[in-house]
Assembly symmetry: C2
């Protein structure tokens, strides 16, 4: 596969690009993460979201530990060529490592960040059968 489309992206000095994952059906923003050149290429090829974990400094195949894979329907690039947007189907309905649907579960209300989304599954249960962190 030609990879000219990868060269059009303005990668950070660390070789990354921010990626927003949005539920393709409801439009809900589920998470924000970073992608390396290799992870975006694999995302396009496999149609499953693959990120770069900055904390672990390695490729992060979303769902490898939790089972909560993200099936990618479409990928968009912004006007500055430095952010990508994924339209995804979220396996298990849980994107966040806290067991919530979305990572953006805190809302600014009355001068503080207040949790407005329920925990759908206990993280201990999500990661119980895995030795991998996510």
């Amino acid at each position: 596969m030609s990879t000219e489309w990868l060269d059009e992206i303005k990668w950070t000095d660390d070789g990354l690009v921010p990626a927003i994952a949005q539920d393709a059906e409801t439009g809900k923003i589920l998470m924000f993460a970073w992608m390396s050149r290799d992870s975006l290429k694999e995302t396009i090829e496999t149609k499953k979201a693959v990120y770069w974990s900055r904390s672990r400094q390695k490729i992060w195949r979303k769902g490898e530990a939790s089972g909560h894979e993200q099936l990618v329907q479409d990928v968009y690039l912004d006007c500055d060529e430095d952010v990508v947007l994924l339209h995804i189907e979220q396996r298990g309905g849980i994107a966040c490592h806290t067991g919530r649907q979305s990572c953006f579960y805190r809302k600014w209300q009355d001068g503080q960040w207040q949790s407005v989304e329920p925990v759908l599954k206990d993280p201990a249960e999500i990661y119980a059968s895995s030795t991998k962190a996510e």
Copy 2:
């Protein structure tokens, strides 16, 4: 106003946080930009989106040049406290400096990024009456 909620955010080394602007009604992702501590504080206080322009290294009141202000309905914080999400009403229906509704107007199709959104207004016209860049 107490600003403890600002201290909860994990700012980058440059003192910034990524911000995603989403249409509050349709759920469409309109743009991605960065905010400084002052710009997020002003956003909350004025209920209008205020960013930090990395290229110009200054506060950027969205719409100051284009008239395309973003009225902020809600602000969310993610699980890692390092990304904010704005639910906005986009004045003029145009968020992108190219004159399109959204900055994410290019879609990966057949091995390339293809423009899939129309230009709603000529940028020359948008910025004609202003001496400011945006």
